[in-house]
Structure formats: C-alpha cells, structure tokens
C-alpha cells in the first residue's frame, strides 16, 4: 500500500458489499440458467438443473440477508439525496455524458451511486419477496404468483442492466474506483475527482484516514 | 390349450378412427432421445400374455394379463381389444383388476387359524389344516347324519353343516364343489345366486322354459326400445351399457324406471322414478295399456303363447287372492290353476282369444284394475310419465320392432321378485319380443360366474343342469324320473324335457363314475334328499344358524356377515358355530366376525379357518357370462404365498375326508367314498380341463347311435366326448356332469369355450365362433319365435333363422330342428322346453299366483294395499325368531330405504381392499334428497345415523337433488338409498360404519327366497 492513500471503506462494508454483489451475480446467472433454455448448460455445470435451482433458492436467502445489512449500512449515506447539489448532478448527467464545467461537488456517494443503491435495495427486496412466493406458490393465490413471476423477471431486467453500468464505471469507466471495494484504500486524486465534497468533509471532521499517517484527531479535540 | 392367431397386445395395432400412425412419417428425434429407456410397452412386448375373464359383474369382459417371464409376476392388465363385448374397454373395477394380483399387500398368503376363544389368528400349513378340517367335518357328519327323516323317508343327509358361496369361481370348481357338498350329504347348500338372481331362474323358466337371459349383451344394439327397470345398468354393468348406447345411436329410445336418478338415468332418454317395490303395479298398468290399445303382436300372442288356452272353471281371483289359498300355511293349493285339456290331453285353445275363460281374457280382466290413476297412486309416478313409457315401449309390439328389457337386482330383491320378472315376461310375450333380435329379457347377473354356479347348482333345490334336487318321497330313481319328466301328448309340442331321464342318469354316471350302475339306480340313493316342501336357502340356513342348529359352515368366496339381510341376526348365528371354513382372497367380516364390533373373542367358541385362495387370473377354467357365453380363462401367474385355487382346496378337503372315512369308517361312508374324484393333473393339481370334459360328458362304452330321421348309424368310441346333449342316454352308456354344457367340446375333445373367432357374419352381434354358448352354441334362445308360422322372419332386416322349406338357415343355431308351426305334422311350437311348447302368460308354477299381482313389501310405508285388502305377498314365508322384527307403516321409521351397489365396488366389498377403488368411493354413505335433508337439518357430507327396527348404522350423508319424494296414495313418501358394499373392515383399520344390512329385513321372495334388500323402512338422524 502506498503512503498517502485514503481509506474509503472499512472491512465490514467491503464484506457486505461483496456478499450482496456476488450473491446477486450468482442469482443473475443461475436465474438466467433457468430463464433461458440456451443457458441450461449452466445447470449441467453444477450437476443438473435441480442443483441450479437449489443454488438459486438458497443463494436468494443469502442475498436477502446481505441485502438487509446493505440497506442498514448504507441507508443514510446512499439512500438519501441531498438537494440541491444532487439534483444539479443529475441534471448534469454526473458529468459522464458531456462536458460540464461546474460540476457540483459530490459527497461520499454521488446520486448515480445512490440511485444504484436504491434500485438494488428496492428491486432486491422485490426479488426476495417475489422469489419466496414463487418458491412456495401453494400458500398464495395463483393470480398473485403469476404477478410475482412478472415482478421477478422485471427486477432481473433492471438489476442486470444496472449491474453492467456499475461494472463499467468501477473498471474502465472511472478508473481508480475498484480499490475502494478491494483494499479499501483509494488515491487522494481519485477522491478529489470523484467525491471532492466528501474529502472536504472528512478533512473538516478529521475523519480522514491516510495511509502511513497518524489518525487525525477529531475536530473537537483540535 | 394353445390358441393360434392371438393378437393380444401386439403393441402395433392401429389407433382407431382410421388413423395410421406410420412410424416412417414421424419425426424421430423424440424417439431417439428415449431409445435407451425401456418403457412399459417394451416390457409388454417381452412379456407372457394371457387372457382372463373379469371377476366382477357377469358381462364377461376379457382382459390381457402381461406377466414378466423372469419374475413370473403380472405387471399390467388391460382390456382385450379382440373381445366382442368389451372391445378392450373396461369399467373402474375391471380397469383395476391388477389390484387383486399379488401386488396387493392385503392378499391372503397363509392359512390363518383362529382357535376357540382366541383373540388372534395363527398361521398354519396346509397339511395340518386339511387334516383338521376333515376331522371337524367327519365328527359333525358322523354325529348328525340321518338316513331317514321324521316321516321315515330315506334322506341320507346331514343338516348341521351349511355351505354358502361361490359365484366367483370357475365353473369347473363350482361343479366339484357342488359334488363334494352332495357327497358329504349337505342340504343346506346355497350361494349368491340365491340373493341375486334366483327369481330370474324361476320366472324365466316358468315363462319361456329356460331360466336364463334370453339374448346376449351384443344383441342389445339391435333393439328399438330398451326399458331399463330394476337395473342401474350404467353403474353395475357398464360394458353392457355400451351396447345400449349403440342402440340409442341407432335411434332406439332408452327408458330408465328406477327409484333413484343414477348414472344410468343420466344417459337415458327418459327417467321415471318409482317407489321401490311397486314394479308390478307399474308393469300391470302397461299390460292394461297394451291390451286396451291393441298394441299386441297378434299372431305371436295367439300361437306362441298360452293366451289362447282355456282356464279351468275353478280358477278365480278375488281381492288380491287367487283360488285355493290356505292362510294358515301361507300357501296356495294350485288344483284350480290349470288349463282345460281335451280327451287326448291336449290343451283346449281359442285362437280368436274371445273365450272369456281363455288366458288372454282372464289376463285382461286381471289387469283391468290397474288404471292410470291407481298405478300412479301406488307407484308415485305421474300419469303423464306412465303414458310416456307405456306408449314408447308398447310400440315394440309391431312385427318389425323389438323391445328389450334389462333388469338386475332391482327386480329380484323383493318379496315379489319372481313376479316382477313374470310381469315383464307377459309384456314381452304380448309384444312378441322374445326370441327375436334386439328383444328378450336381459337378466343382468351381478357376479362373474353366477350363471355357471347356477348351471352347476351350488343350490339346495337343483342338481347340475337344472335337474331337481330329490326329496324324501321320491326315494327311488324310477319315482324321481316319473315325477320330473315332462309329458305332453300334443304332437306339435317338442316337450324337450321328455329327455329328463337321459340327463339324470348321465349326471349320476358323471358323479359316481363306474360305481353308478343300473343295478344300484346309478347311485341315486347316495344323493342326500330334502324334506318335501321344506326349503334350505340361505335365509333358512341363517335362521337355523341363529337357532344354534348349524355346527359347521363353509363360506367360499362369500361374506354373509355383510351381505346377508339382517346382519345382526347373521353375526349372532356365526357365534354359535363350532367351526367355519372361509375361503377368500382377502380378509372379510365373516372370517373375522369374532373380533367384530360388539364381540368378545373370549366368549366365541368357533374354530375359524381362513384359507387363502387364488384370484381369477391365477387359475385356468371357464366362466359363464349372463348371456350364457362360457368363456375360458388362463392362468397368468401363480397364486401368492400358500394360496391355492378353490378347486385345489375343494379337492384336498375331500381327499382328507375320504382318507378318514377309508381308515375309520363312519356314517354312510358310501356317500363319500363312491364319489368319482380323480380330477388331477400329473402334478397332483386340480385339472380344470379334465373337469370340463367330465362336465361335457363322454361315452362310457362303444355306442352305436341310429339317427331317428335319416336312419344313419353312427359309431362312437368309449371315452370320446359327446358333441351334443342329444346324444346322451338314460342307460348309463353316457356320462355328463351337466347336460346343458354338453357340446362345449367337440367329439375330438376340442375345447369350444376357448374359441376366439371374431367373425360376426350377420352383423347382428351373434359372434358364433367366440367361446361357447349353452345350449349348443345358441346365442338367442327361443329364436324359432322370431319367425312367423311359416318360418319367415317377422323382421327380415334382423334375420336370426329362417325356414327354407326343408331346413333352417341363418346366423344363429335354431332352437329346435323341427319345421315351423304351419307344418301340422312335424311342425313344433317355439318354446320347446315348455311341455305345451308356448310362452306362459298364465304361470301356474308360481307360488303366489299365475298372474302377478301388486303386493306391498313386507315392510313398507302403507298400512293398506291401495289395490286390494291383501297387503303383502300372501305366499312368503315369515321368519319368526325373536330377532326378526318388522315395522310396517310405523311412524318411527318413516322413510323407504333401498340398497344397491356402485360401479366402484362389488358386492359385500372385497373391492375395499383395493386402494384405487377405495380412493374413489372411500366410505359408506346414504343418498338423501335435498328436501328431506333440509327438513332433518342435515347438510351435505355430515355424518348421520340410519336405523330400522332391526339395527342401526352410521355413514356420510350425500344430499342430492337427484332423489325426489314420491306422492303415494295421497301422502308424501321419502326414499333414501344406501350402498351395500361397506362393512367394519377397511385396509387401514376398522371403521365405526358397518353393513347397511343391519337395517334390511330377513324375508325372501315367495318362490326362491331372494331377500328383500330393496325395500325396508328406516329413520335418519344427525350424528
């Protein structure tokens, strides 16, 4: 680890993130294995479609638990928009789509990330609920179960699409982001570029943790 | 027997409707994908296939059993597409036949023995069992055998051993059973035919000469109008209903007259509900309607019935009673019930039918009282409905129209059972419907081989071939032959029963073999004999058992503790037995009576043997269907465990008994030891084919027979099978175990019962090459009556037989070779089994009168008979034990109860041991109209209690709109219905519900003692 890197996430946060992320991916792929006959081969890889379904079902439970932690953990930071700057950011398309001169400064999570979180939280919950009903259809009215199939599929369409945006951004779309969820340490330049407001806040609050330096004392102690 | 050209389940037949699924044209991908799997059709192709005949009702459907050659086990049973009647189709029970194979865990596999006072079964081996049973029989027989009765007549019988059953074993087994019982000296010998179709035999024989269904199932399609009355055909003879629907397709009207709206009613054109027990009133009204409107087939009535005969002057009828009634004995002196004869002994006739004393005019007079109003008030049927049915059915009196009647237990199980059928016989004679295609009276029998078991006489009153059972006064063969040989001096009467001596002697030869000689009256004196005028029916047997006078009891494939009326009485009777031998394939309430409800095993001394029997597809032999088709069945698998066929069981019990008598002597050992008893194959097993040949008959010596017509001489060798009963002799030169079956083999010994020719050259459903039909492969009996006096068919489109001037030709075997009646010299009347050659409208053989008269059931809703002062049948025997209670017109029991079976179950319910069938009809129920249910506040599916003066049962209420209350004699009468298939045993443990026969009444038909299951009075309350 280089000196001067900034601590972006804690280990717990990262674990939760990867739990949700991996289980979501697993669910996407096992789900696709069942949705698309051409992907039934995925079942063969795990010893049959029955196993695939089992993985999907129990993966779903894991996802559900992870999702609870995710929501609990990020609800305040990523679940609430702060106006007007978030609005401006959205109007500006986050600066991703065309050149924007004066981008509003972004805090720890930009509205795009917030939206992604909300989509994951909302549709994740929908997926869990509809999935459970589909899993145990006999306890419910047939018309309800049929609706759940629609929701489940709709949820997949959206989550799966968002997943690619997320993947793009954390890899080549916004280089330097990925380490936040691997090591937890990011470069200051990256933070400055992506989340300048957050950097400032941390600096003001004294919560900024820089690799190789003593932890800053809190503001009150200064 | 090997048969060639068996198609069976070739698994390559066409699918029907003209579709050829050419495998060449198919997309084979799916086939390839499954090529590796061996599916059931492959297994069937590799299996041993054998045909069997269904073991339920007596339509006689054929099934194919597929047996795994490696394991010897049956794995598939389905309908035989080649069979002319069922054509591969099956009802619920038939389709579930696999449920009685060894795959059923409830099958009995070991001999179970219950010691006196014991509360459990013990397993035993056969060796011990047969010895023990033989010992018990011998001890009982030796103690109670009587050579002479109170009057000092030679009787050679034992009265303390009874036998009941079995109509569901092969004919060859029936025959050996009947012989072994007689050889033991039993007179209390009876079986299900008693409670089922005994009135049919009495009524049809009285009317036409033979006691069996006149036509056959495939012939029903030729009918123009089918009256289903006294039958729930679609439910209880579902495959027969196939042929009724074919008639419907061809434009026939199908009428159902029944107290209940059933699955039959649902498919008929007309359903008319009538109060149970009022059939004679209904049909009496029809007779009046036919006569009043001159709907009769005139020529037929004049020449082929006794309508033209003149009655004796003493004959009279007044207020419900015929002349000669003895109220004390409840019996008629029939002296005045006679026909006037001329000096030559020929009946006097008035072919104009105008003589006021002729049968026709007397018949008209008798039924004048049966007006629409009167009939309607008795039956509860509206006048419109009466007229509707009368007109539809009456229309079949036209010469080229035929009406058929289908009945079953709805007619027989009444105190007037025989007369119900007699009334219809009169109608059929009036309309000229007997002997013709699409006509006749279909006595649809309920057990698979009840026709065969009746032919072979597991009945107290007859010997095989409907020969009379001798009684005390007839102590020599000469007297016997003199008494029962029919005589006629009328040159135009064939009087076939003049051959009675031939059949009697041939039977005795078959029974006793070489021991029967002219010197010893062919062993006639060894036969047990009844007391004159006394009866030994099931009802009498139970009565005697209840009185404690029966020590030993054989129950072969029967379940009296559920199936007999007044089961409380039956079960008390069973308690008093010393021993009981029960042969069955499943446990039943009779064998297990000692642990039944309310029983304390410790106080029951009866020694009980429950012997495991082979199921129908586990043995070879023949079975007669209701239409007299005697069909051969094959062994598809061995019986499970220690189970043996009934034939083997009978043989070995008798072996053990004979062994004891040989060793120890005892009471009249000749009766037992003289029996010819060698019907075994090389391995010592019961040999059905050998028995079948013995039944058919053979020449006991080289015999030259001269043809009476041509004078040609015919050489017959000793041992050759007789090809027809016409060859039987009265001098001991022939032997025949049952003359009606003579001809079931040809002279070379070919078994005609196994024939599988599917051809039907006339298209009339005759199928002459399929199996054998007695008599002499005749498919529609009395078929001479289908032609006019010159032998030309009344209906040329349905030509059964036709006289060409020198011989009869046609699709069926003519019922007697003589020229038609117009030939005054050689011509004969068509009903050749009757001494006067004609159908009997006036039937003097009946116990309660020559013309049927309406009487109320013994227990009914009315205190007075609306049509006369004679409330009940004056000739029925009334049992008087303390437990025989009757509650007629008693407000405590206001509802008429009728009992019946359903498609899914059979008789006393051995179907309860078959999960597929039990699943469909799981519990005892009572059908009750929505109106009655509402007044009793009973909701559908609620549990209720049903009680009569004799007992009570619980069950589920089935509230239905299909039952409607009747308006009878000005008051509303409700009818409820309950199935008879349930008892306290169920495979998954006991139930609190029990047999409906706790409610029914121990009384029988006046002629044959068929119990009145169809009408008793009950009350219903919510549980």
């Amino acid at each position: 680890m280089k000196k001067g890197m900034i601590k972006a996430t804690g280990p717990f946060e990262r674990v939760v993130h990867w739990c949700v992320a991996l289980s979501c991916l697993l669910l996407c792929f096992t789900g696709m294995g069942m949705m698309y006959h051409s992907l039934n081969g995925l079942g063969t890889m795990v010893g049959g479609m029955g196993n695939l379904k089992m993985i999907h079902n129990f993966g779903g439970i894991f996802f559900a638990i992870s999702l609870v932690f995710t929501i609990g953990m990020w609800w305040k930071e990523a679940g609430l928009f702060s106006f007007p700057e978030d609005w401006q950011w959205i109007i500006a398309g986050g600066g991703y789509l065309w050149h924007v001169e004066n981008m509003p400064e972004v805090g720890k999570y930009n509205p795009g990330q917030k939206m992604f979180f909300l989509v994951v939280a909302l549709f994740g919950a929908i997926m869990v609920a509809s999935g459970l009903i589909i899993w145990f259809p006999f306890s419910f009215a047939v018309s309800l179960v049929r609706m759940m199939y629609v929701l489940h599929a709709l949820g997949f369409v959206i989550i799966f699409a968002f997943f690619f945006v997320h993947l793009y951004l954390v890899t080549i779309g916004a280089p330097g982001s990925a380490p936040a969820m691997f090591t937890g340490w990011v470069t200051k330049a990256w933070v400055k570029k992506q989340h300048p407001k957050w950097l400032k806040e941390m600096e003001e609050d004294g919560t900024l943790v820089v690799y190789g330096e003593e932890k800053h004392s809190k503001k009150g102690r200064c | 027997m090997k048969i060639s050209r068996r198609r069976f389940l070739s698994m390559s037949g066409a699918i029907g409707s003209g579709v050829a699924l050419s495998s060449l044209g198919l997309d084979l991908t799916a086939l390839k994908a499954h090529a590796a799997e061996i599916n059931k059709t492959d297994l069937i192709r590799m299996a041993k296939q054998s045909t069997t005949i269904c073991c339920y009702c007596s339509v006689g459907c054929s099934l194919i059993c597929s047996t795994d050659k490696m394991t010897g086990k049956i794995f598939n049973i389905e309908g035989d597409p080649d069979h002319p009647i069922n054509e591969g189709s099956l009802c619920a029970k038939g389709a579930g036949l696999f449920g009685i194979t060894e795959a059923n865990e409830h099958r009995l596999r070991k001999v179970l023995y219950r010691a006196p006072k014991s509360d459990k079964w013990e397993e035993k081996d056969w060796e011990w069992t047969f010895k023990r049973i033989a010992r018990l029989i011998k001890d009982t027989r030796d103690a109670d055998f009587i050579t002479h009765n109170d009057k000092g007549e030679l009787v050679n019988r034992v009265e303390s051993i009874g036998h009941y059953g079995s109509s569901n074993i092969n004919s060859e087994e029936c025959w050996t059973l009947t012989l072994s019982a007689r050889s033991m000296g039993l007179v209390y010998l009876d079986h299900q035919a008693r409670v089922c179709h005994s009135p049919s035999v009495a009524a049809l024989a009285e009317s036409f000469g033979r006691g069996s269904m006149t036509n056959n199932f495939t012939d029903l399609k030729n009918s123009n109008c089918i009256l289903i009355m006294g039958s729930n055909c679609a439910e209880n003879h579902p495959i027969a209903f196939k042929w009724i629907l074919r008639a419907k397709d061809r434009g026939a009207k199908i009428i159902h007259v029944d107290p209940r709206y059933t699955r039959t009613s649902a498919r008929c054109d007309i359903h008319v509900p009538l109060r149970s027990g009022t059939d004679i009133a209904f049909l009496g009204g029809m007779i009046k309607h036919i006569i009043d409107n001159n709907l009769i087939q005139e020529e037929y009535v004049k020449y082929y019935t006794n309508a033209s005969q003149i009655l004796s002057p003493g004959f009279d009828f007044k207020d419900g009673l015929f002349s000669g009634y003895d109220a004390e004995k409840r019996k008629y002196n029939k002296e005045t019930w006679t026909i006037e004869k001329d000096e030559a002994g020929i009946p006097l006739r008035d072919y104009t039918l105008q003589n006021p004393r002729c049968v026709y005019q007397m018949l008209k007079k008798h039924y004048e009282r049966y007006t629409l109003d009167k009939v309607s008030s008795i039956t509860g049927v509206s006048k419109e409905d009466l007229l509707l049915v009368y007109n539809e059915y009456g229309a079949t009196g036209a010469k080229d129209k035929a009406g058929a009647e289908c009945y079953a237990l709805g007619w027989t199980q009444h105190t007037v059972g025989t007369q119900n059928i007699r009334t219809m016989s009169i109608i059929q004679l009036l309309l000229g419907n007997i002997g013709v295609c699409g006509g006749g009276i279909a006595a649809m029998r309920g057990e698979p081989n009840v026709q065969g078991s009746t032919d072979h006489a597991i009945l107290y009153n007859i010997l095989p071939g409907y020969l009379k059972m001798p009684s005390g006064p007839v102590d020599t063969l000469d007297k016997y032959i003199k008494k029962y040989t029919s005589t006629s001096t009328d040159p135009q009467s064939a009087n076939w029963y003049q051959n009675y001596p031939k059949y009697t002697v041939s039977f005795l030869k078959a029974m006793w073999g070489d021991k029967a000689t002219a010197e010893n009256e062919f062993g006639y004196s060894w036969l047990p004999k009844m007391d004159d005028g006394k009866h030994y029916s099931m009802l009498h047997l139970i009565d005697k058992m209840y009185a404690g006078k029966i020590k030993g009891f054989f129950a072969y494939g029967s379940n009296v503790a559920v199936s007999s009326p007044h089961t409380n009485k039956v079960r008390k009777g069973l308690e008093k037995l010393k021993w009981m031998v029960n042969v069955n394939i499943f446990n039943n309430e009779t064998a297990s009576f000692w642990k039944g409800p309310g029983m304390n095993p410790k106080s029951v001394d009866t020694e009980v043997f429950m012997l495991p029997a082979a199921a129908s597809m586990e043995k070879e032999g023949s079975q007669s269907n209701s239409g007299r088709w005697v069909q051969w069945r094959y062994q598809a698998a061995s019986p499970p465990g220690d189970a043996l066929s009934d034939g083997d069981i009978t043989m070995r019990i008798m072996d053990a008994l004979r062994e004891l008598y040989k060793k120890e002597g005892g009471a009249f050992p000749e009766q037992i030891l003289n029996l010819k008893w060698d019907y075994r194959d090389a391995s010592g097993k019961f040999d059905a084919l050998k028995v079948a040949k013995q039944i058919n008959g053979h020449y006991t010596q080289n015999l030259t027979i001269t043809d009476p017509v041509t004078g040609a001489k015919e050489e017959n060798k000793k041992g050759e099978t007789v090809p027809t009963f016409a060859k039987l002799m009265a001098d001991g030169s022939t032997s025949s175990g049952n003359w009606v079956m003579a001809g079931s083999f040809d002279q070379k010994g070919m078994n005609k019962m196994a024939k599988r020719g599917k051809e039907d050259p006339t298209g009339l459903g005759i199928f002459p090459e399929w199996s054998f039909a007695w008599p002499l492969n005749r498919r529609i009996i009395y078929n001479r009556a289908s032609c006019d006096l010159n032998g030309k068919p009344y209906n040329p489109k349905m030509k059964l037989v036709e006289w060409t001037g020198d011989k009869w030709v046609g699709g069926d075997v003519v019922d007697g070779p003589w020229p038609p009646l117009a030939d005054k010299e050689k011509g004969k009347f068509p009903f050749i089994m009757k001494s006067d050659g004609v159908g009997a409208m006036f039937g003097s053989g009946m116990a309660e009168g020559p013309f049927p008269e309406h009487y109320e059931p013994l227990e009914g809703p009315l205190a007075k008979n609306p049509i006369s002062d004679q409330l009940i049948n004056p000739a029925i025997e009334i049992f008087k034990s303390d437990i025989d209670k009757v509650a007629n017109a008693d407000p405590k029991f206001p509802y008429v109860c009728t009992t019946y079976s359903c498609t899914e179950h059979w008789c006393s319910g051995f179907t309860r041991w078959q999960p597929w069938l039990l699943e469909m009809m799981p519990e005892a129920y009572i059908e009750i109209s929505d109106k009655l249910a509402a007044s009793l506040k009973i909701k559908n599916a609620e549990r209720v209690k049903v009680f009569s003066v004799r007992g009570e049962v619980t069950c589920v209420a089935m509230v239905t709109k299909r039952l409607k209350p009747f308006e009878v004699d000005g008051k509303v009468v409700h009818l409820v219905g309950m199935p008879c298939n349930y008892g306290w045993l169920l495979p998954d443990g006991a139930t609190t519900d029990d047999s409906v026969n706790h409610l029914t009444i121990s009384v029988g038909d006046a002629n044959t003692f068929c119990p009145e299951y169809k009408a008793c009075m009950v009350n219903v309350s919510k549980l």
């Binding site: 029955g50 259809p137 599929a153 200051k188 | 579930g96 359903c902 999960p915």
Partner: protein
C-alpha cells in the same frame, strides 16, 4: 412430419364409470391415496400428482326444473400454445410429435412454474419426488400406435383418439346432432388443444372449466416481453458503456493523482 392427434371427449356419452380414471392409474402405476367422502360420488376432489385424470360429478338443475347429472373427465388439455411448456425452465415439458404435452421427468426440478401458468390447473406437484406430474396422453403407447389407457378403457365411446382434423370435424358434427346448447370446446383457444370436449351444456355450466382459457397475460409478459428484454437491456447497457468509453472516455482523476494524497492536507 408431424401427425397431430386429438383426444375427443364426448360428455354426452360419458357414464362416469371411471374406467378411465383407474386405467390411467393402472398403466401409469400411480398409487391411490386415502380419501374421505365429501358428499359426492367424485373422488379425489381434484387432480393430484397421483391422479392424472378424474371424473367430475356435478348436479345441474335445468331451467325446466329437471335435474341433470353432469360428468366431466378432467385432465391435461395438451395445448398447442402450452403455458406449461412456455414457463418450464428446463425443457422438461415438451411437445411430442403428436402435439401432446409430455414430460421428461428426469429434467423436472420441481419449480412449480407450470402449476402457476396452466390455465386449466392441471400439473400437480409431488413433494416426495420434488417433481410435477400430469397426463402425457400415454406417450409411450402412442409411439406404438396404441390408444392412451383412458381411451382404451372407455366403454361407451365417450373417449376417442384420432387425427386432429378428423376429430374436430367429428366433434362439430356430434355437437350439431345433439343440438341445444351442445358445443365444442378446445379448438378455439391456446392455438387449439389436443383434447377436445363435446359439451352438451354451455361452458359456464361446468365447474372448474374456464370459459375463455388462455396463456395468462402475466406469463406472456414474463416470457415474451421481459425474457428478451432482459438480454436486450443488458446488451444495450454494455453497448452504451462501450460507446461512452470511446466517445467520452473514462472519468480519470486529475494529474495530481500522481502526488501523494496525504501530503497536501
């Protein structure tokens, strides 16, 4: 070449003898379950994994006050546009060359989607095997030119099987012959079923028989809209990202990223 077959059920000929119900169990080796009498001749109360065909009994009071007893053989209709096949994730349910809907039991994963999808409530779940079960029109019998067990057993001709066109023709002829409210049920929806009824009464008279059966809208949205949409959306996003990358480029941190971040504060 496909040879489509149709099983024709003429309810005007059915006597409810239930030979078909048992013959089905016999051939397919389906066990019985213990039942209770619920105040009807009918049992079991509904189709079950071990009961692929069932006669339904129904008392029907006609306008003229007369009571009719209606019998209807219930079971798989073998739809052409079969919702069950549509939703089956594994291809366990499939159309045979006869047009019937059969099942590779080994492929079934017990997901129960077909149970939800079927407009006739036919497939039933067996918890012991974790598979669904339903009538396959006796596929192995059809392969060797034998009629299905139920058709073979039918005494009255209420059940027949034959080429689709011929059977439909027959059905209309029979309905016309019967007259009144008699009608043909099955050829007009889900692209035609391979089981066709001749109903003596109007469709709505029969209990548990949908008047207008179709693949449920939800199933169509799911399978015909969302299923392709899932791939399309994902594909579009990937394409969009690529387009973004090549047109707009990544959002990289400014040059100072090279400096040690911590030193500045």
């Amino acid at each position: 070449m496909k040879k489509e077959l149709v099983k024709l059920i003429d309810l005007s000929r059915c006597t409810a003898c239930r030979g078909c119900q048992v013959a089905c169990k016999q051939w397919n080796e389906l066990p019985a379950k213990r039942t209770k009498n619920f105040g009807s001749y009918q049992n079991p109360p509904d189709l079950q994994w071990n009961t692929w065909t069932l006669i339904r009994f129904q008392e029907h009071e006609k306008k003229n006050g007369k009571v009719d007893w209606l019998f209807r053989k219930d079971g798989c209709m073998h739809c052409t546009d079969a919702a069950c096949i549509k939703v089956c994730p594994t291809g366990a349910l499939y159309h045979t060359e006869f047009g019937s809907v059969s099942m590779h039991a080994d492929k079934c994963i017990g997901c129960k989607a077909c149970i939800t999808a079927c407009p006739f409530s036919v497939p039933k779940y067996n918890a012991e095997t974790n598979k669904i079960a339903k009538c396959d029109l006796c596929y192995t019998r059809l392969q060797v030119n034998q009629p299905p067990a139920c058709v073979q057993s039918c005494p009255t001709g209420a059940l027949q099987i034959g080429a689709k066109d011929a059977m439909i023709k027959k059905a209309y002829a029979r309905a016309e012959q019967l007259g009144g409210d008699a009608n043909v049920y099955g050829d007009k929806f889900v692209d035609g079923t391979h089981v066709i009824y001749i109903l003596p009464e109007k469709v709505n008279v029969y209990e548990h028989l949908p008047v207008d059966p179709k693949v449920p809208l939800e199933i169509i949205i799911w399978k015909d809209v969302l299923k392709p949409a899932g791939l399309l959306a994902a594909g579009a996003v990937v394409a969009g990202c690529f387009l973004h990358y090549i047109t707009h480029g990544p959002k990289t941190p400014d040059d100072e990223t090279t400096c040690e971040g911590g030193n500045k504060s």
